[in-house]
């Protein structure tokens, strides 16, 4: 229990760091945002109106005061208004978040379904033909940017075969399949390799040879011993890949017109809508940090060596 508290306490400076960095970045970018706002409307305005608007947005205050104010608003779920639509940023972001989380969850599920069995197969059949083939596939997948994979899938599955819609027709499972497949293929290529390496390392340990010598069946060794000790590493590696998944969704969502936060962010970047970009960066970082925390706690809970206070290595 002590560890859990310690880990959560450690989180506080990181969360403050994240909010500070997100705020600072966007303030640097949006320093002359008032001028830009009026320039966009195409009206010539006097300096007084600009100053009044700046005061209204709190831009005339010292930096740290602005940060404190913004942070206070943040705690109440107020992240300002979009420069483009004028709607509340936090609500817009929250309304698009489920679509992205659905996409991410489906991609992770599909990645696990594809890569864990294949990774184990490759490790068990080490250096046989199936292993070489799987390694080759993973290599190809690793060298393809995910947007290129997405475009190829679009060409083959939608245009040539007509199986799935080219672009999403709303947030539903059928439309989610293509972006999910794209993300899962890119992730699996990397992840299968890691699963293979983890299982292989475990298979090469002395106790496996010992068990074999005693006549324990290979399947028993694999599922009862090897997989049990590899599972922790496999889960950790999966959690680590969530970071690249969250970034990857931005590109994939905008290719397939999937209506999630990634597409929202890319559109916001093109429109220079800083409050929205800020919300996106900050919340993505917070989600990522929380996922890492949960993984750590899970790891801690599952590994008896750590739980019982035996130091590793």
């Amino acid at each position: 229990m002590n560890y859990v508290y310690k880990r959560i306490l450690q989180l506080i400076p990181i969360l403050i760091g994240i909010t500070f960095l997100s705020f600072a970045m966007m303030r640097v970018a949006g320093s002359d945002v008032v001028n830009e706002m009026y320039a966009k409307r195409g009206t010539e305005v006097s300096q007084e109106i600009i100053d009044a608007k700046k005061a209204e947005l709190g831009l005339d205050q010292p930096f740290l005061v602005q940060y404190a104010r913004w942070f206070g608003g943040l705690l109440r779920g107020d992240m300002g208004k979009s420069y483009v639509t004028g709607e509340a940023v936090f609500q817009t972001f929250i309304s698009k978040l489920p679509a992205t989380l659905l996409l991410a969850a489906m991609s992770i599920l599909m990645t696990v379904i594809i890569s864990v069995p294949l990774g184990i197969l490759a490790a068990v059949r080490h250096d046989r033909i199936i292993d070489v083939m799987l390694r080759f596939c993973s290599f190809i997948g690793n060298a393809m940017p995910n947007f290129f994979v997405g475009m190829l899938l679009m060409q083959i599955l939608s245009i040539k075969l007509g199986l799935l819609p080219v672009i999403s027709t709303g947030v539903n499972i059928r439309s989610a399949l293509m972006p999910t497949l794209t993300l899962a293929i890119s992730m699996s290529a990397k992840y299968m390799r890691q699963v293979r390496a983890t299982v292989l390392e475990e298979l090469n340990k002395d106790y496996v040879q010992g068990a074999k010598a005693r006549g324990v069946r290979d399947s028993v060794i694999l599922w009862k011993n090897v997989m049990r000790s590899s599972l922790l590493t496999i889960i950790t590696l999966l959690a680590l890949s969530i970071g690249s998944l969250l970034g990857g969704t931005a590109i994939i969502e905008s290719i397939f017109m999937w209506d999630g936060v990634g597409k929202l962010a890319v559109d916001a970047i093109n429109m220079r809508d800083y409050p929205l970009i800020q919300a996106y960066v900050m919340w993505m970082a917070i989600i990522y940090v929380l996922v890492n925390l949960i993984t750590d706690l899970l790891y801690h809970h599952l590994d008896p060596r750590i739980r019982l206070g035996v130091t590793r290595d």
Partner: protein
């Protein structure tokens, strides 16, 4: 783990050498090609010929032409300059910067070390591309800004590798002996620490080239890197993506260019890793 026999080790070693030569040569060819791309293009990559737009691949235009009638082969070759050259610049920069930061932190320890490490923690708290998107958004488009954005998110990894390696070296007997005999800090770092931590840093950098190339292309794909008409593979893909159904060669050419280059650099990276760290070779 079982020790391989001497004969197996020799075979492995020769095999590795061949791989190193082959992939090294291919990578050098790519880099040379990107440097001299201006002289290698059969046509001017910017020259429009609307009468010959969207032409299928032929002997005159090996990869066909795009919707403005520009020769795709020339554009792909010219794009290598932006893509490969920028990637190498980026990786080179973060390697040098990260390594220096890591060594200085490990060597001095104390407050400087904890401050820099906390800063790197903060950067690592952001999912990579998400942060790069934000930095690119702040700075605006352009290849240079995309490089800065990716450098900002990737240096902590190098700082950590260099730091942990330096910390391990710092406690070795020979470094203590050298220190005791009056060797200055700067001389110790340059003559003893640096050569010893070079391997792991180089492996990290080599394995990163492919990833960075894809991320750079990804930023350009979103319009946050190179801007058209400057040929860059990521932005070319994005620019021509609606031609995929009708004129696939226009889209496939830059896509395969990225694929082949990333593959060559990944192969080279894996080989360098196996060469410098034989424990991984499996």
């Amino acid at each position: 783990m079982r020790e391989p026999t001497v004969r197996k080790q020799n075979i492995h070693h020769n095999h590795l050498k061949t791989r190193l030569i082959i992939f090294g040569t291919l990578a050098i060819l790519l880099v040379v090609c990107s440097f001299f791309s201006e002289y290698l293009c059969p046509y001017d990559p910017y020259l429009q010929d609307l009468g010959n737009a969207k032409a299928a691949p032929s002997l005159a235009h090996l990869f066909g032409t795009d919707r403005y009638g520009r020769d795709m082969l020339s554009r792909v070759i010219a794009g290598s300059r932006t893509s490969i050259y920028s990637t190498l610049l980026l990786v080179g920069f973060i390697t040098v910067f990260g390594t220096i930061a890591g060594i200085v932190c490990a060597w001095n320890g104390g407050r400087l070390d904890s401050v820099v490490m906390r800063i790197s923690d903060m950067f690592l708290a952001f999912p990579g591309l998400v942060f790069a998107l934000a930095v690119a958004a702040v700075l605006g488009g352009g290849v240079q800004n995309a490089i800065i954005a990716l450098a900002a998110i990737s240096w902590p990894k190098y700082a950590r590798v260099a730091r942990s390696q330096t910390l391990a070296q710092k406690e070795t007997v020979y470094i203590r002996a050298a220190r005791l005999s009056g060797c200055s800090s700067s001389k110790l770092i340059i003559k003893h620490i640096l050569p010893n931590i070079f391997g792991p840093v180089l492996v990290t950098a080599m394995l990163d080239i492919g990833t960075m190339m894809m991320e750079l292309a990804g930023l350009s794909f979103l319009g946050l890197g190179a801007k058209p008409p400057v040929p860059e593979w990521g932005s070319m893909l994005s620019d021509t993506r609606n031609l995929l159904a009708t004129h696939p060669w226009v889209t496939l050419a830059p896509g395969f260019a990225i694929f082949v280059s990333v593959m060559i650099f990944n192969l080279l990276g894996d080989t360098v890793r196996d060469w410098l760290d034989p424990r991984n070779a499996r």
